[in-house]
């Protein structure tokens, strides 16, 4: 079974876009979506995917508190 980090990386490489262009493969998950330049509409869309993929409840407030993608992995695993 793939690790949460690998599943999240795959979700990102298949879905996450900036200006309609794929973000591509992320080596390091210690980044925030805003430092990648992801817009709020894409953050909301990505949030929905995470909810579906990991069956994880995620409120708008959670999205703000989870600052980096690594923090999201920790939250999913926690």
């Amino acid at each position: 079974m793939a690790s949460t980090a690998d599943r999240l990386k795959q979700l990102i490489s298949e879905n996450l876009e900036v200006d309609g262009k794929p973000v591509g493969d992320l080596g390091d998950l210690n980044v925030s979506l805003s430092s990648l330049g992801v817009s709020s509409v894409d953050i909301v869309a990505f949030g929905r995917l995470v909810v579906k993929e990991f069956n994880l409840p995620l409120t708008p407030e959670d999205c703000v508190q989870i600052e980096t993608l690594q923090a999201l992995v920790d939250r999913i695993d926690g």
């Binding site: 980044v31 330049g37 509409v41 909301v44 929905r48 995917l49 708008p60």
Partner: protein, 239 residues
């Protein structure tokens, strides 16, 4: 005013004393370097941290334009101007380290930026380039209320559905940016686009009960290329 080159922003509308500026954030030789000269240390660090060149450029060009516009508006030098952040990240202006009473908000998407500046504290703008999304089915139930979804479902042409999505989104986000919470406090579906706007009007007064009893004005600034909206409170029932 920036030295040597023609400014990449211009004022194009005034609505109730709110000045609205368009920023051309396209990659035009040398502009980004000019812009960087206007940013302070913290802003340069932010610029550095953006992972993608387009995001860097958009931030630098919009922030430098904002600085120039606010310096004119407040009658201060660029070196005296700095920004603080409210709890959820909405920036406010400071001159000589002291907060000043000016309302402003910035939005950028693709090669476009919008800046609104005025005496209203609670003002918000949002702009989104219209582009085809593969995930509308996923987004619509999160972003739209049931009555908005009924309106959306009544539109059959695919391109119009995409347009409508962005038109609705920018109104909601402009409202949430005006009160400074962005997408952090309310689900976008809780902020319902006023019926007048859904019916095609480009300006109306509105109420958003989940936020409070205040009266708002909504202005649509959209073009064929992008959806955009301005929202501000005209009568603040919260005070």
């Amino acid at each position: 005013m920036m030295p040597n080159r023609v400014a990449w922003w211009f004022r194009y509308r005034i609505i109730e004393n709110i000045r609205i500026y368009k920023v051309d954030a396209a990659d035009v030789g040398g502009r980004e370097n000019d812009a960087l000269r206007w940013l302070d240390q913290g802003e340069l660090e932010r610029w550095h941290d953006f992972a993608l060149p387009d995001s860097k450029r958009r931030f630098a060009l919009c922030r430098a334009a904002l600085r120039s516009i606010l310096c004119d508006h407040l009658g201060c030098a660029n070196s005296e101007l700095s920004f603080g952040e409210a709890e959820k990240g909405k920036p406010f202006a400071m001159v000589g380290g002291k907060r000043v009473e000016v309302g402003f908000n910035v939005s950028h998407s693709g090669d476009h930026g919008l800046i609104a500046v005025g005496d209203y504290d609670n003002l918000g703008v949002d702009i989104e380039i219209r582009r085809r999304r593969r995930d509308l089915d996923l987004l619509v139930p999160t972003v739209m209320s049931l009555s908005e979804q009924t309106h959306f479902d009544s539109v059959t042409e695919d391109g119009m559905k995409h347009d409508l999505f962005f038109d609705f989104w920018t109104v909601k986000e402009a409202v949430l940016k005006a009160i400074g919470v962005g997408m952090s406090k309310f689900e976008p579906s809780e902020i319902e686009v006023p019926l007048e706007i859904r019916d095609g009007q480009r300006s109306c007064l509105a109420n958003f009960p989940p936020i409070g009893a205040s009266t708002w004005r909504i202005e649509i600034l959209s073009t064929l290329e992008y959806a955009a909206a301005l929202a501000f409170i005209v009568d603040d029932a919260r005070k």
